[in-house]
Symmetry: C2
Amino acid sequence: MSRGARERLLSSAVTLFRRSGIAGCGVAEILAHSGAGRGSIYTHFPGGKAELAEEAVRTSGQDLTDLITTVVDQQGLADGLHALIEYWRDMLRSTGYAESCPILSAALQNDATAAQRAAGDVFRDWHEALTGILRAEPATSDRADTLATLIIAAVEGAIALARGQHSLAPLDAVEAELAHLLGLAGE
Amino acid sequence: MSRGARERLLSSAVTLFRRSGIAGCGVAEILAHSGAGRGSIYTHFPGGKAELAEEAVRTSGQDLTDLITTVVDQQGLADGLHALIEYWRDMLRSTGYAESCPILSAALQNDATAAQRAAGDVFRDWHEALTGILRAEPATSDRADTLATLIIAAVEGAIALARGQHSLAPLDAVEAELAHLLGLAGE
DNA sequence: ACCGAGCTGTACCAATCGGTCTAGTGACGA
DNA sequence: TCGTCACTAGACCGATTGGTACAGCTCGGT
């Protein structure tokens, strides 16, 4: 088929995990979505669904870490935050609130231990990246650590609220409050 | 058995949804945990697992709404927020980060449409309660709506972070930042 | 005491779960 | 050109999924 079955499996797994979480979608579903045969999973991911899930969380998490750093580097903190929230707004809107952050779903799945640990690692990466950025700005340098956590938690929480309420209002509100907070972060 | 099978089923469902989400646990598991017979589910919840899940989300959500209002009414905004976050800290700590907020899990499950909608309604209840409280205080009255959303999103997000990282640090950080924010909310 | 209605426990169902196995396919090196 | 070998597709597996059917029990009303 077109490109490596491994990549297609990972890509399909990420999409379906966005939608239904790890426990919520079956191997057969991932297979059908990716067009791969059943054998392909177990040659590329000998650990089966668990290994595929962990790898899907790690790769999609890395993509998001890259997105965070590049967007903030290019556009600065305020505009970067807007762009990141817009990213989630777009995804929720275009999928009818069906897909959102796969890391968020994985973090709550305490079957799938490996995937959950991977989600924790991804959160740590985000926190590290954001802390570095916030520490570089004088206005936020002293509370960089806790501010970074607040931003991540608020955005991920807003995604959950938006998903449940089928509304973008939580993302709008969180963006406004975070912008307000960062604007006067030095007190 | 001791008390009504309906209540035991709901209570067990909430516990297991805290742990594995709706998709992550089977009817057999709920049955075993509650000690009820298989038939009991379908007499009390003719809609099957979906109806049980929706009802579990609604009742546990109502309990949490009550907790929010009473705690904040009795202890005020700052101490009330501390008590609420301590509630989640206790749950995560005492269960080894295995159990957390069932509403959060339900909001991300877009199979189980009814349960997801119920989660959205619960979030709306929380938002309404918090907005009322914040509007009553002069310091937060003008931004009450967005502040309420930020608080809910940040706390729920912090729960997800804590779950993934097996650490209470996200809850500590969010509590500190929210306390700081509410302390100078008037600017 | 008796009867009837409602609840409960269990056997059973098809469908699906994740995983294994293998024959066949394709590309690549000798 | 042939042989090799990693990969693939799909048949197949036992276990488990959510749901149904039903027989027996318990309890309340008369």
